[in-house]
Amino acid sequence: MHNKVHLSRVLFYCGIVLLCFCMVAPLYLLIKVSFSAPQEVNTAHPTLLLHHPTVRHWQQVLTSGNLFKPFWKSLVVATSTMLLAVFLVAPASYVISRASRHLKELYVMVLFFTKMFPVVGIALPISVVFLKWGLLDTNIGLILAHLIGQIPFMAWILVSTFSSIPRDLEEAASLDGCSKMRTLWSVVLPVAAQGIAVSGLYVWLNSWNEFTYALYLSLTTKTLPLQVYYYVQRGGTFQMAAYATILTIPVILVTFVMQKYLRSDYLSGAVKG
């Protein structure tokens, strides 16, 4: 009996170690390749450890002049998408959260429904229209497109955030003579600030990583993910690694900040009564 317990414990830890290895190994390889001498990677038998570290690829990427433009475009688009999304979604989510149960469920279902549309199906007519409007290759066009994917999810999170704020707060404020606007601004918003911030960061991340709309709506300008894709197509093994690492660094920073506040029940919360 004792042996059996012992064995299952060993197996359990083996599984855990294997799991952690599978999760971490790809990240290690990415960084390793970006610092490897070509003869370590471009062979039939690549080395598993870093034998000849070199910063040559990084120097190349950083000094080539191809980095700043896509980086800046991604940064501008992601940040604007986040701000616009907050302005569009936060007020609407508040109203939805205060609507009757029936109306609320209906709106949340519609949001879920729009999440089911294939991105390629939306991007196609959008790109046709944007071509007419001269919005291809512009930041504004890309921001408008990124909002499409981000609104349903953000609304989902924010409806559940606002729903968790008791109505008594607002009633007390209105008894004290606050206008609707004033109540919303100085009573509800401060309580919901954390939820809004987390969902905003989430939108920022998704926009930073977004690929499909960027592919449809860009002809000559590139975002960072498109830049990575460009090197994937050209087989630029080392540039690909360096650019992918650059793409990942802000993400890790943001995730680190967000993880403390991200609650998994945000996802299911909106559906609750």
Partner: protein
Amino acid sequence: MRRFLKKYWFELLLIAPMTLYLLGFTILPIFQSILMSFQDDTGKFAALHQYQVLFAKPQFMKSIGNTFFVTLVSLCYQLALALLIALALKKAFHGRGIVRAIVLMPMGIPTMVSGVMALYIFGTSGYFNEILYRLHLISTPIPWTTGGMRSLWVIIFADTWKVLPTLVLLLLAGLDAIPDTIYEAAKIDGASATRTFFSITLPLLKPSVTMSVLFRAVDAFRIFELPQILVGTAVPFVATYSYEEYAAGNLQLSAASSTILLVMILLFTLVYMKVIDRGEGFNHA
């Protein structure tokens, strides 16, 4: 009407921008897309012409099969794995905090980057082949990403790495919501671990599982980025096929294939809700 406006003008003002945006930039385009699929190249009504062309293309038929295969297999595989990990993370053991952080790490990694990593691992002179070679399992490298069943599995593995954290998080939340007292009662009644799992954990986890299945299935059907990076046109999926037609200038064909994709997603959701879930999980989540 006027009274309604007067009473609710503030609420309407708040909700209008987002609603209009959704109508103009999500609902309208999808209908335009469907409409386009029934037109010929000049914009005239052409009934099912585009669909006839589409279904005559072997590449497209292959893309439907691939999409279904990857969706169904990755759903089952990822759910089982995520449940196993969530259950393990519920246990108290040394280093649980670190393991949790490591498991959740890929959540933030861009899909593009996970695709690049998969290229390094599953490339013909990649690290997976190298490990197999060093273990003397193979003598000549296997081309993983050039097509066939192998490539589908590569896509499933790469996808799993990326989405596992979200699934684990969802299921962990579901597990946390099951009160400990039920487990204690089961223990007092002498239920075995297996019995407890199948009679308590699984049924009570159903709402979380439903949420996860629907979220995952929709994303899996729409899979685009990973195949685009990993296998290009060698292994077509409905979404990547639609892009190929778009890039080749056949807008109506692209619209038709994305409409087919929409129908696939709607059908799956409907069947799942009606047959497997019967409306229990979603409404009471």
